[in-house]
């Protein structure tokens, strides 16, 4: 009987807190959103299930959670805590990204730079709210709208906020179709939204092969902190474009990225234990994250309008919203908003240019923040 009572006292029912219960419910909401609404299912489903796993109370003395040294989950989480998974995800992204539209219209690259304003304005906001510079840098990167980059930088600068930052980044990435359109409409006139873009020109094989090499060298030399992310992104792209490593490129963009996504999503979810996740800081992070997405979108759109003041061939300012690196969601949003004004104005191909430039831009920002904050 004593053994039975002792056993019952170690069950999850006995040690469960309201916080754990809330996090399990949040995990279930993520799973529901992924399945019923198709919101970033590849990430929200593993994160949601991971959140459930991470919030089953541990038994004292047993290594179970991601934070217990020697536990199975801690070994999986190692890839997150040491920033290993994000560059591997970037390898797969590089192997599936077609930079042709960007190569055919280089000035759209600048929109990818302008949208990064969200990162730095959020950094200022976070500092104002009392976060340390390292924490502020990690929170600011949410504005890059790039989950792996956010995880990479938080693992380096503020590991204790990693769960909240990752959840905020992926949640807002899933909400891109909700957050961006009102801002895009607010900041543009109907006449601007009707601007048609020329179709992208054909890009030669040589251009596509040279680009990842050149882009890597430029980005890594200017911001060496971005080496791991940009390096893997461009390496993956070279595998794709070289035409001689089809097998490697195929593995990188399918099986490889899928495996890493499963491990990353699940272990990030499992790191959201109520005791570390349900804090006032997390609420601030969610607030700042929403703000950073909005500012990034506004920054891209406004810069595009600014660019139009000086150029003869006008650019549809909706494309500026695609400067955030939620690929391809923000490009799709641009297409959707453009079609609402003119059912024959297809902006998707052109929007992919600032969108992929945004991926490079946010990785460079992560490198800059990392190098500035570690000093």
């Amino acid at each position: 009987m004593t053994v039975l009572v002792e056993f019952l006292s170690t069950t999850g029912f006995a040690t469960m807190t309201w916080g754990n219960l809330l996090m399990i419910v949040i995990g279930l909401i993520f799973i529901t959103l992924a399945i019923t609404k198709d919101y970033e299912p590849l990430l929200l489903l593993p994160i949601g299930f991971g959140a459930m796993v991470g919030n089953i109370p541990s038994i004292p003395g047993m290594a179970l959670s991601v934070y217990d040294p020697g536990s199975v989950l801690s070994y999986i989480y190692f890839g997150v805590s040491q920033g290993i998974f994000p560059p591997l995800i970037f390898l797969g992204i590089g192997a599936m990204t077609d930079f042709s539209t960007m190569l055919s219209n280089p000035r759209l690259v600048l929109l990818g730079a302008a949208a990064q304003i969200g990162i730095f304005l959020t950094l200022i906001g976070a500092l104002y709210l009392g976060f340390t510079p390292e924490e502020a840098g990690a929170i600011g990167i949410i504005g890059g709208a790039d989950g792996p980059t956010a995880i990479f930088l938080s693992a380096k600068l503020a590991p204790h906020l990693l769960g909240a930052i990752a959840i905020a980044a992926y949640s807002y990435m899933a909400l891109v179709p909700v957050i961006q359109p009102p801002i895009m409409r607010l900041l543009t006139t109907r006449k601007e939204r009707l601007i048609r873009m020329p179709p992208p020109r054909e890009v030669s094989t040589r251009e596509r092969i040279f680009f990842p090499i050149i882009a890597f060298l430029v980005a890594a030399l200017i911001a060496p902190g971005s080496l791991a992310l940009v390096g893997m992104l461009m390496f993956g792209n070279l595998l794709k474009e070289s035409g001689v490593t089809d097998r490697l490129a195929d593995t990188a963009r399918h099986a490889f990225i899928d495996i890493v996504t499963i491990l990353l999503g699940f272990s990030v979810g499992a790191s959201t234990q109520a005791q570390t996740f349900l804090t006032p800081q997390s609420l601030s992070i969610f607030g700042l994250g929403a703000l950073s997405f909005a500012m990034a979108t506004a920054g891209g759109v406004l810069f595009c309008k600014f660019l139009n003041l000086f150029t003869k061939q006008k650019v549809n300012p909706l494309l500026g919203a695609a400067g955030v690196s939620a690929v391809p969601d923000s490009a799709r949003v641009v297409q959707m908003v453009g079609l609402q004004e003119d059912p024959h104005n297809h902006l998707l191909m052109n929007a992919m240019a600032p969108n992929v430039a945004g991926v490079i831009g946010s990785a460079i920002c992560a490198g800059i923040l990392w190098s500035v904050m570690v000093k």
Binding site: M102, L103, P106, R107, V109, L110, G112, A113, Q116, I117, I119, F120, L121, L123, I124, L127, Y128, T132, P133, A136, S204, T205, R206, E207, F210, F211, I214, A215, V218, A219, I222, A223, S242, G243, V244, D246, A357, I360, G361, I364, C365, I368, L369, V372, M373
Partner: protein, 78 residues
């Protein structure tokens, strides 16, 4: 570090713009550069032959050997 938010933001945005502007500039001149390179080293369709399955190469090699043998026989016969 406190009170350095604005300088970090300004420097950060400048660096991102410099990096992406550099990439954009290089992309702009890349077609011209590659045209010049093409005059020295013409672009060939080497990828197609490289990515051809090994089996195809074997068949081509056998066919070439058979043709060469046939020509050799014809040439050497009285």
């Amino acid at each position: 570090m406190d009170g350095r938010g604005m300088p970090i933001a300004a420097a950060g945005m400048t660096i991102v713009f410099v990096a992406l502007s550099s990439i954009a500039t290089i992309i702009s001149v890349l077609p011209w550069l590659l045209r010049q390179l093409g005059k020295v080293v013409p672009e060939t369709d080497r990828h197609a032959s490289r990515s051809r399955p090994a089996g195809d190469n074997d068949v081509a090699a056998v066919a070439a050997a058979a043709a060469a043998y046939h020509i050799h026989r014809k040439g050497s016969s009285p």
